[in-house]
């Protein structure tokens, strides 16, 4: 099988409403990749965006928005399959069980509803098998890092490329779902998988933009991903209507699949030395530790950039703590284990079901690549410039901090005169001389 390069999405769900943006510096300062600059009084994304939506969270004016593609009605005569993230189960309050929600989706006209929480349990066993294999290697890549959060993946590819080989290289649940949901439906209905449109329902902008760019394994341009918030109300209506009709079972997973979307969900049943961390800054802090070689005693690290995990994802509607509470109740109800059979997964594993064709590669900024000597020269210029700056990190120049401003000046995308404090100092000196 040819090895394909994992084209990490460059897509961004962020849109800045110029009528609401007043050019304050908050989003620019919050961005973990320093992708934002304020120019002519407006915030703009200029660099590599990893779709974490931190900028959206900090904007006090609602000018920076995370936009999900809209829901579009199903067309007659087409084949539709839907696969909701298990986070959906936490979004309707205690009155709805997972099965009610899946029945609601079916009633919306989807030919097949694929319970993603079950796929997560299958994946979870495969992950355990992979960790076991890794243990036997002479130089295990511990800690392995979870492949679930696409923002973590993009952050690693951009800021921590040495850790790319720590990301679990199995096909992820989202890839498996994309492949299997269509295959199952087409086998049953005697059509080609290519004729089936798959809709992912996700709490996650990064997942959505990844799919929009067809960069997912086996995704086709018939596949779409939309935010939970774009379809939530419709599902509620249908689920309410269906609540009486309990005869069909569409939900198969145990508590592990149901709890998958909360921080710790991936390690809950995992037989390995593992740790779960959530939140953008905490995740970055842990990536730094791994890069320093500090966590080698750990076998598996679950990282989620959203606080509390995907139940705190940007496209959710319920409050993350209420969602967490509800999920914990559901987990108790369905039992804290995987309902999938181990031998079944072992067989799939040995058949190569989880093999991914993708090779993950660093995400580059797109600015011209300099040689080592040119870079050394650039760093020296930056260092000289920093000494001339006040170091108060105000951001008034339009760059996120003094160091980045110095970089921008050296790279020719900002002018030293843009430093407001230097201007002010100059003015005060002139005033004193008068």
């Amino acid at each position: 099988m040819a090895e394909l390069t994992h084209t990490l999405s460059r897509g961004s769900s962020v849109q800045i409403d110029e009528t609401l943006c007043n050019g304050c510096v908050l989003c620019m300062k919050a961005c973990p990749t320093k992708a934002i600059r304020v120019r002519d009084g407006l915030a703009r994304i200029q660099g590599v965006c990893v779709d974490c939506l931190e900028c959206v969270r900090v904007c006090p004016r609602g000018a920076v928005k995370g936009v999900t593609p809209p829901y579009s009605d199903l067309k007659n005569g087409e084949h539709y399959v839907v696969s909701p993230s298990s986070v959906l189960y936490s979004q309707f309050g205690a009155g709805f069980l997972p099965n009610d929600i899946l029945l609601g989706l079916r009633a919306m006209g989807y030919g097949y509803v694929h319970d993603q929480s079950y796929t997560s349990e299958i994946y979870n066993f495969a992950l355990e098998l992979y960790i076991r294999e890794e243990r036997k290697k002479p130089e295990p890549k511990f800690p392995l890092i979870s492949a679930i959060c696409p923002v973590v993946e993009r952050l690693i590819a951009y800021r921590f490329p040495s850790l790319l080989e720590h990301i679990v290289p199995l096909a992820t649940p989202r890839e498996i779902v994309t492949r299997e949901a269509k295959r199952r439906f087409s086998d049953k209905n005697k059509c080609r998988p290519e004729d089936v449109s798959l809709l992912h329902i996700t709490p996650c902008p990064a997942m959505s933009s990844q799919l929009m760019e067809h960069s997912l394994h086996d995704a086709s341009n018939k596949d779409r991903a939309i935010g939970i918030s774009a379809i939530h109300e419709r599902i509620r209506q249908k689920a309410q209507e269906q609540a009486m009709e309990q005869d069909r079972v569409l939900h198969y997973s145990g508590g592990v699949g149901v709890g998958w979307g909360k921080s710790g969900g991936e390690i809950a049943a995992l037989n390995a030395q593992s740790l779960a961390v959530s939140g953008l800054h905490e995740s970055i802090r842990y990536l730094k530790k791994v890069e320093m070689g500090l966590l080698e005693d750990l076998e598996f690290l679950e990282l989620r950039v959203c606080t509390e995990g995907c139940i705190g994802g940007p496209f959710t509607v319920a409050d993350r703590y209420q969602a967490k509470h509800l999920i914990e109740r559901l987990v108790r109800m369905f039992g804290e284990e995987r309902r999938v059979k181990y031998n079944y997964v072992l067989k799939l594993y040995n058949e190569g079901w989880f093999r991914s064709q993708w090779k993950r590669v660093p995400l580059e900024s797109g600015s011209p690549r300099l040689s080592i000597s040119e870079n050394i020269e650039r760093q020296n210029k930056i260092e000289d410039l920093i000494r001339k700056l006040p170091g108060i990190e105000c951001g008034a120049c339009g760059s996120p901090d003094c160091r980045t401003f110095a970089e921008d000046v050296v790279d020719g995308i900002a002018r030293l005169e843009d430093c407001v404090c230097r201007q002010d100092r100059g003015r005060r000196e002139v005033a004193r001389e008068c």
Partner: protein, 144 residues
């Protein structure tokens, strides 16, 4: 004359800021664009050396020298020095105290790891007169 030179201060027993110098060094190397595997090797050495100065050494400094074909780290401290250098490099050997161990240090793997990760090391130490550790990395074919 090296092409880039930076100095950093390290304080004895300052566990709050411990690790910051290595992070800074790592960030500079990333900006210069060395290959990730090399940066990782250098970071491991930087971190272990910085921690040794904080824990066992005394006040000291780190010096980073970068040229297109080599990277050098020099850690100097005015601490208590090392009595038996050969012993100090033995895997598992550590004089870390209880407080250090409670914080998760003192596995005695720092110096052995540095030796393994670096292309060359040179150490000068005299009991009562501090320690200088010079760690070199060759870049031929290692960058890009």
């Amino acid at each position: 004359m090296p092409d880039l030179e930076r100095r950093f201060t390290i304080r004895a027993n300052d566990f709050v800021n411990a690790g910051e110098v290595s992070l800074e060094i790592q960030s500079i190397l990333k900006h210069i664009g060395f290959n990730p595997a090399l940066i990782r090797r250098i970071s491991v050495c930087a971190y272990e050396s910085e921690m040794n100065v904080v824990m066992h050494g005394g006040d000291g400094e780190a010096l980073l020298k970068v040229s297109p074909n080599s990277v050098t780290l020099v850690f100097t401290d005015q601490g208590k020095g090392i009595k038996d250098i050969e012993l100090a490099f033995k895997p598992g050997y550590s004089t870390a105290n209880l407080k250090h161990r409670e914080m998760g240090f003192g596995a005695g793997m720092g110096l052995p790891n540095i030796k393994e990760s670096a292309d060359s090391i040179e150490i000068h130490s005299e009991e009562g007169h501090g320690t200088t550790l010079n760690i070199g990395f060759e870049l031929e074919g290692d960058f890009g």
